[in-house]
């Protein structure tokens, strides 16, 4: 089973992990990733913009691909949008499987694809004004290794 949500409100990582545990099958491993807003360079806040509809489709497509590559028992993805301040949670990816290798690999695969393919954009607010975050070449390199 997969659960994909895009929402403004915060999420409870404990509740997400607990839900993976009860999703289906003989779960032996759960790997999770939580992305947080960093304060680097005295950033005051960031606003996440997204393309509704396409964002859900793109995440669903990569969850389906992860499920075809590894024997997964459950996947949960939560991505927040709207204005977030340093320390706040942005994204959750959780994967349940029978064994840890599949869980670790699938969580990393999903994060690499989320960063480079899912239609979200970050606007950073600093003292001098607001600027759109530029994509990083290193993120493109991260995704290439899965091809």
């Amino acid at each position: 089973m997969s659960d994909i949500r895009i929402q403004r409100e915060d999420f409870d990582p404990g509740a997400e992990i607990a839900a993976l545990n009860t999703m289906a099958g003989d779960v032996g491993a759960i790997a999770s990733f939580i992305g947080l807003v960093r304060a680097d360079g005295r950033m005051e806040a960031m606003t996440l913009d997204h393309y509704p509809g396409f964002a859900e489709r793109e995440i669903s497509a990569h969850v389906a691909e992860a499920r075809s590559r590894w024997p997964l028992l459950g996947v949960r993805v939560v991505h927040r949008v709207g204005r977030l301040t340093p320390g706040e949670r942005i994204v959750f990816v959780g994967v349940a499987s029978s064994h840890r290798q599949a869980a670790f690999a699938a969580a990393e695969f999903l994060m690499d694809y989320l960063k480079t393919r899912a239609p979200f954009w970050k606007l950073e607010e600093r003292e001098g004004g607001a600027t759109w975050v530029e994509a990083r070449e290193s993120d493109d390199e991260s995704v290439r290794r899965w091809r």
Binding site: Y51, I90, K115, A118, W121, K122
Partner: protein, 83 residues
Amino acid sequence: MKLLYFAWVRQKIGLSEEQVSVPSDVTTVATLMEFLSRRGPGYEAAFRNPALLRCAVNQEHAKFDARVRPDDEVAFFPPVTGG
């Protein structure tokens, strides 16, 4: 054609979406971009450097040589930065 703009593309153009009747010689994303860049200074600024832009046709990532049709949904945006 339904057009959507995100992030700084939306800011330069000043719209998040619009419905546009495109001429019949607009058959690809590239020719659509040329057509749109002539619609005003905001559009011209948004489409000045295509290397900075990405696009989606009917909610699928697409290249600039992809075909577009009058009832398509086409979106323009910078490279994504989520996660």
